[in-house]
């Protein structure tokens, strides 16, 4: 199941979206999140959905794969939909059965909120799917640059982020390995009563912690040996490169805002 999860995963590829500057992509997504709230009627939401699908199309990620990979998120989506459907009591009564009463406004709200949610999840997924974790951190470091003035340790935060991102796959691999080794010794995680399951986690977690600490120590030594001394005066190997397409993407976003504003009820 974990193999199919795509949340926070990066798929290397070659598309307009892949080639964009990470700063542009991060800005784009953050602005988009704000803009989503401009829409307040069917037109607005239809445009948002269309726009998102266009971006997915441009990123060359298969829609089927995206939907499949975000299955766990859809459970949340369906939950919110029904929550709005059942608990909003405005507008005309559409349907009633026993204590269940569905109002027009509830249906409307349910659909709108679901679309809003879907659009946000798709857009953020496209960001992480098309941008390598390292680029994201680079982008964030530059975008947060101004906060250095107020003594925010931006470089250290970015470094922490890239190290943790870097080690997620490694730790996942290791979890798999240890899990298998303990399964081969008859430990049974994922079945039996709750108490047994909790007990079965111990043989998994302890070796994982031991190796994580060992890795951290090795990494710290390796960094020190190579003369790492923090961000002061450090040059970059990967230069960020703002291009026309990046400016255009933000212009496009401005256009979207204008259109949404026009159709706003």
């Amino acid at each position: 199941m974990m193999e199919k999860m795509i949340f926070g995963r990066f798929i290397p590829g070659d598309s307009v979206v892949h080639r964009m500057d990470p700063r542009a992509k991060i800005l784009f997504v953050f602005l988009f999140i704000a803009i989503v709230f401009v829409a307040n009627n069917a037109w607005g939401y239809a445009i948002l959905l269309g726009f998102t699908l266009l971006v997915v199309f441009l990123s060359k990620i298969r829609l089927y794969f995206l939907i499949n990979g975000l299955k766990p998120v859809f459970i949340l989506l369906i939950f919110t939909f029904f929550l709005h459907l059942f608990f909003t009591r405005e507008g005309d009564l559409l349907f009633s059965f026993g204590f269940i009463e569905i109002y027009e406004e509830g249906l409307r709200q349910g659909i709108f909120i679901s679309i809003r949610f879907l659009v946000l999840v798709f857009m953020t997924s496209v960001l992480t799917l098309t941008t390598s974790p390292i680029s994201i951190t680079d982008g964030i470091e530059v975008l947060l640059g101004p906060f250095k003035k107020i003594k925010l340790p931006v470089h250290e935060l970015a470094l922490m982020m890239s190290i943790s991102l870097r080690f997620i796959p490694t730790l996942m691999d290791e979890t798999g390995k240890i899990l298998k080794a303990q399964m081969a010794r008859g430990s049974d995680i994922g079945s039996g009563p709750m108490k047994e399951r909790v007990k079965a986690v111990v043989p998994l977690l302890i070796p994982l912690f031991v190796s994580a600490f060992k890795r951290a120590e090795d990494l710290a030594t390796a960094m020190e040996v190579r003369g790492y001394r923090g961000g002061e005066g450090r040059t970059r190997y990967r230069q960020l490169n703002w291009q026309l397409a990046d400016t255009l993407s933000l212009v496009l976003l401005a256009g979207l805002t204008a259109v949404l504003w026009y159709f706003r009820a």
Partner: protein, 290 residues
């Protein structure tokens, strides 16, 4: 206990863009009581095959028979505990799986999981610690206070304590010093004979395969290419080269010796000891004919 792989295929992360095919149409028969070495270049699918031997992985195509238990692609397999009890796996770097407070408890973890009474599990642990040449008093220590080599031995004891009928070894001596390697491999061989085990050894070391195995299977790019007796496999140098493998040291030395001296030693020598004996024989004969 016999293990049979019939047309086994396996893909990691099936149905995603990360899908990676590891095995294609693997047919492998591991007869009861045999010592089978699986050799192959890095990434040839050795370790993936190994995980099918006790159903840690289920094939995405084909059938695996473990004793009378049938594991079939697409069919849910329930309660694999019995299979796991019968087939013990010593993974690569097994010391990573140690977790308990004391060595004793760690070794007893496996047997207790499979319902062995506590007294019996403890007896096995005490016996194995001696067999593996661990120092006195090690049982009460924390496994994390031991040296790397000792941790390895404790981890191996933890698998042996389950008293499996089939012992699967994945590079069990990687990273050990030559003497430790030899000791551990010899111990596995001794257990193979005295306990009448079926042993499967996955290894990079042609020397180990030649010395201990009575059957050798070559994996290449996810296929099982050939199986046969070590002598047949290791005398076919061209075939080995096709699969990016080299014959064991003793075979290479024998070839050089034959080339330089013009003497023929006959059958290939799978170990240094046999080679030394053959050379001595040939030399004695050579000097007599002069």
């Amino acid at each position: 206990m016999e293990i049979l792989l019939k047309g086994v295929g396996y893909s990691y992360a099936e149905d995603t863009p990360f899908e990676k095919r590891a095995l294609t149409d693997v047919n492998l028969h591991i007869p009861s009581g045999s010592y089978t070495a699986i050799i192959g270049h890095t990434g040839s699918g050795k370790s993936t095959v190994l995980q099918h031997l006790n159903a840690l992985l289920k094939p995405t195509e084909g059938v695996v028979m473990i004793g009378d238990r049938k594991i079939e692609a697409g069919v849910k397999a329930k309660d694999l505990r019995n299979v796991r009890r019968q087939v013990g796996i010593v993974f690569q770097f097994p010391e990573q799986q140690l977790f308990d407070e004391t060595v004793l408890k760690d070794i007893m973890f496996g047997p207790l999981n499979f319902g062995v009474p506590e007294k019996e599990a403890e007896r096995r642990a005490r016996e194995l610690v001696v067999q593996l040449g661990l120092p006195d008093g090690v049982l009460e220590k924390s496994p994390f206070d031991l040296s790397g080599g000792q941790m390895r031995r404790v981890a191996i004891a933890g698998v042996l304590a389950m008293e499996p009928e089939v012992l699967v070894l994945d590079e069990p001596t990687a990273g050990l010093d030559p003497r430790g390697r030899r000791e551990i491999m010899d111990l596995f061989h001794e257990l193979h004979i005295t306990k009448n085990l079926t042993t499967v050894l996955v290894t990079h070391s042609m020397e180990d395969a030649a010395r201990y195995a009575d059957r050798v299977a070559i994996m290449h790019k996810g296929h099982c290419m050939v199986t046969g007796e070590p002598k047949a496999i290791f005398s076919n140098e061209e075939q080995l080269q096709d699969y990016s493998l080299q014959p064991p040291r003793s075979v290479r030395l024998q070839r050089d010796f034959e080339e330089r001296t013009g003497l023929k030693l006959g059958e290939i020598s799978l170990t240094e000891e046999v080679l030394a004996k053959n050379i001595a024989l040939a030399m004695a004969e050579g000097s007599r004919s002069l």
